[in-house]
Subunit: 611 residues, 2 copies
């Protein structure tokens, strides 16, 4: 009850603040009357414009209360209204790429309370979700998938002899991803209704860079009339709409292509952040916001010191060696590559656009030709480049450095989990995958990884607040697979990898305090190989080995330890995440589910010792 | 010695047969005089034409002796000579996409004996390999990587202030792959020398289909003058050469772009199979050949009954349900989708071009809209779509069926290993990955997987000759993770997955014969989950559990069994491949290395029992 009051109060304050570009004055809003897309079809143009304002208010309220995507949702409001006015969802099927821009769509398809009422904000996910509505067709959250998914739907429709529209809405930023471009090639020959709406707001999260974006600019400048047109070249009918935030024009344009029998591209030019001036002005900062930051000077960036440490380190490294290059696949902000950093790095900073495959191939080529590239990528997205990690990087022993950010068990949406990077990377031959446990180790690993020219190195950047031991790390990381035994004890050994080394420390202390046992404590450092000397030595005076890793157990680090000891008397207990897609489950709940607390682990050890 | 005589005899027979389009009559060939690209630069045009004939002879000899790629190598002979005439390798760097078309390049860079002398044929790999020559820059064998690798090299060159040409040669077929398209976008803004040669022979392995290929056709038809030009649209300088098998014209064209300061596309039209009439006429059949098949009626297709069984099954399934669709990412021949099959399937057969990511997204969309898609893909290539397997397929529980062909320990080139599909697929939540051990199980799994609408299913199609038990399989596969206990014994349990179930049978028999122990035999069927009832039951009267899997142990099936038993008294021995890239190592040698014979496993058990 108190929580409710606080939230209502917060909303009231928000409503009174002057953060909206346009104030809402009607007593009963148009959005109040919208229960489904059918209601949108009854509106006058004027009412639709009022509806757009209501939707913007919902976006701002929602994002400022629970955090979320802002700019792309603000920019797509009019297009979403027009889509639902013209097409008949869910018979006509609209698939949103990434689906971080589906807030307006959700508000028009029976889920407005998720945006207007703070109590419901957490009920509705930030992405498309068939469990929420018949107007959503896929769970999705990674970019560049919509053309493939939608063209598959179109093929099924055709085989079943059904007739309706299939519309894939994809942002310009997502277009550079391999799956989208593969889909663009194949969908061109569908020979049936298939409508691609390109929502061109001139931005990825950061500004896009490649040839494709120069081409989109040329199309915008020429009002879609440029002689050269890659969509026409591929065989699409092509239409351009300059004012993608004008509902009337959008409706005209969508009506013109509705029920087409040909693969068709409708290129609309929208304004990211439209209708909220700070977001119009600073598109990157307002791509996504933290709760309670609107109208304040609080940055959207988490005060994550490993991020700023990385950027500072790379800038200093570049000053000493001009072949050091920081590379990002369009997620610079999430990995510490601020606008200031990018400017300072100049030619030594490259954003390859959303293109993780190319990014891995590119840094492999750079490294093989004597450059010192460092690719920073999110755990959830490194999996978009498995084959490149294997073939371009590992098979060539390309001495590039890949920094994997944001990995670990989290309360994230099911589309953005970070628990798969260990199974993904650690089972590829040749890669050295390092898991630092503190600032000093991380820096020492960078010191080693970047200049060396022998190994393909990945580093699992620690999650959470920075831990500093204050002691310089002088380890020689070129001696591979050497675990650090930080306390030599007996009976029980605890191997705590990366983020979970601190948990291992706590567990070790608790075991000492409560049971009087001096357990061995090990920081394994290497996720890609076992220190058989250390493991063999444990056999002499240990009965139980505990492994802790901040990721999926299946295919992970602990199972390698289990396999190592499987023909011996040593008993092993593996701790980490279960192989499952969790969806916005609080971390604390997951830690209990996976028994990731000193108390629960000690219960298990106790049971095992009795057995 | 006898081996040498036989080989020379084979060569003599080959030389006398009329398989060459052009007979070689000179006594001392031009190729004899070529030790390095420098020698090519000394040749007259006439000598270069003679050299082309010599190279063709080498290609045919090599491929007919040890098997290999034929059509693309025959087509690229003139372009390779011209490249080495114009550019200065290795200072100028030529990167060949896939590199299955590097036979001419190898013959001009000090490795001709690998093609002219049958005794050396196995010394030289079928792909680019820096260990062989300074003229090769990467180990590569998967498609669509060259633009990324080469553009990374160009960036390193620029940062180091060096000046030379970087040339990426990519076939039209490879262009549809996501990494290539991502690279095309990013390399366009390199703002420096970067030359892409598109070797357009109008073919992937099979004919390509998408919008890109209609566009290339338009460019060919218009002699490169088409108003629409996607390469120009992306910002490239663009040149077209119609006769890509004319050395003089090629030299002119390459000279015209040499030392350019801009990203440049040179689109050359070549003839796949050029100079060898059967290969000119049947481009798909002669893409790649088995040894001793030239001039014979022997098919290039292995008599692999699982392939033909699959095709027959799908054709019958399609006749009953018109939403059954067979999908291939441009490797139809390797998975049983013959030209006759494709024709019979009509609209129910889709080749999405080289585009594994799109293929997985596409079948996921198809399945979610009520279609019944079956994607057939090679083990070595399924890894190109990890993120799509996770996000498009598994997270959506898209009830598509993915058939993984060609997996298992093999003597393949290091770029085409099939040992990673179990670690790759089995650690993704939600996927049901099935490993049939015989024809009857495979058919029963297809019977279940295709019509059901609940699970995302992958099937590891058995490798090698088809095994038939003659007994109809009536298993209900919707009861997930239920192992089949095919012999209930005691003390030792053997779990043999998929291809290695037959090895498990043999081992069980040997243990019975030699030791008189009736070991339990288990066919686990499911690679994605454990049957804890069965595993728990084994604890009561077994001491040792053996796991056998035809793939990489790290992250694989056996380690899950080890982890399961790691807190118990059961001892587990895992058998499978070590985590390593092996390169053309004979299977027999690998089996010994990995102790994959009944005798070696029994030695290990014996040691363990003593211990």
């Amino acid at each position: 009850m108190i929580k409710k009051l606080v939230m209502l109060l917060a909303l009231a304050v928000l409503a009174q603040s002057s953060i909206y570009a346009a104030e809402q004055t009607e007593t009963k809003s148009v959005l109040d009357k919208i229960e489904s897309p059918a209601d949108v079809k009854q509106l006058s143009k004027k009412q639709m414009e009022a509806l757009a304002k209501d939707i913007r208010k919902g976006i701002l309220t929602h994002s400022n209360t629970v955090g979320g995507h802002l700019g792309s949702d603000l920019g797509i409001v009019e297009a979403t209204i027009a889509l639902h006015y013209v097409f008949n969802s869910p018979q006509d099927k609209i698939i949103f790429d990434v689906s971080h821009q589906t807030y307006p769509h959700k508000m028009l398809t029976g889920r407005k309370e998720g945006f207007t009422d703070p109590l419901n904000h957490k009920e509705i996910s930030g992405y498309s979700n068939p469990a929420e509505s018949e107007h959503d067709f896929f769970v999705l959250g990674h970019t560049s998938t919509s053309l493939s998914l939608a063209s598959g739907m179109a093929k099924a429709r055709n085989l079943k002899g059904e007739e309706y529209n299939i519309v894939a809405l994809i942002g310009d930023g997502s277009l550079s991803g391999g799956e989208a471009l593969e889909g663009l090639n194949n969908a061109a020959v569908l020979n049936s209704n298939f409508i691609i709406v390109i929502n061109d707001n001139e931005m990825s999260i950061a500004p896009p860079n490649g040839g494709l974006y120069k081409h989109l600019k040329e199309l915008r400048k020429s009002n879609g009339k440029s002689e050269n047109n890659m969509f026409k070249a591929l065989g699409y009918d092509y239409y351009y709409l300059e004012n993608g935030n004008n509902i009337t024009k959008l409706i005209e344009q969508f009506n013109a292509v509705k029920d087409t029998k040909k693969p068709t591209v409708v290129h609309i030019h929208t304004q990211k952040g439209h209708g909220y001036i700070p977001a119009e002005r600073n598109k990157e900062q307002y791509h996504w916001i933290l709760p309670n930051t609107l109208g304040t000077r609080k940055s959207r960036y988490m005060p994550d010191n490993y991020n700023s440490l990385t950027a500072d380190y790379l800038y200093n490294a570049k000053k000493k060696d001009n072949t050091v290059v920081a590379v990002t696949p369009a997620t610079p902000g999430a990995t510490g590559f601020t606008q200031i950093f990018r400017k300072k790095m100049g030619e030594n900073y490259v954003d390859v656009d959303i293109a993780e495959q190319h990014a891995v191939g590119y840094v492999s080529g750079l490294a093989k030709n004597g450059g010192k590239p460092v690719l920073a990528v999110m755990s959830s997205f490194i999996q978009r480049a498995y084959d490149q990690l294997s073939q371009d990087f590992a098979l060539n022993n390309a001495p590039a450095t890949i920094l994997v950010f944001g990995g670990g068990i989290s309360g994230a949406d099911m589309t953005h989990l970070g628990i798969f990077d260990i199974p993904l990377i650690s089972n590829i031959p040749n890669i050295v995958y390092l898991a630092p446990t503190c600032k000093e180790e991380y820096v020492a690993m960078l010191d080693w990884a970047i200049p060396q020219d022998k190994y393909s190195v990945a580093i699992k950047v620690p999650a959470g607040e920075m831990v500093s031991t204050g002691i310089k790390d002088t380890t020689d990381y070129s001696v591979l697979n050497k675990f650090k035994v930080t306390n030599e004890g007996a009976r029980i050994a605890i191997i705590g990898a990366g983020n979970f080394y601190r948990l291992a420390e706590k567990l070790q202390q608790n075991i000492k305090d409560l049971w009087g046992i001096n357990a061995t404590l090990i920081n394994p450092i290497y996720l890609t190989g076992l220190d058989t000397d250390v493991l063999e030595h444990l056999k002499s005076n240990h009965d139980i080995v505990i492994t802790l890793e901040d990721g999926c157990l299946d295919g992970g680090f602990g199972q390698k330890i289990s396999a190592y000891y499987s023909n011996s008397k040593i008993k092993v207990l593996n701790y980490g995440a279960k192989k499952e897609f969790t969806d916005r489950v609080p971390v604390k709940e997951l830690y209990e589910r996976y028994r990731l607390t000193p108390e629960l682990i000690m219960q298990d050890i106790d049971n095992l010792m009795k057995y």
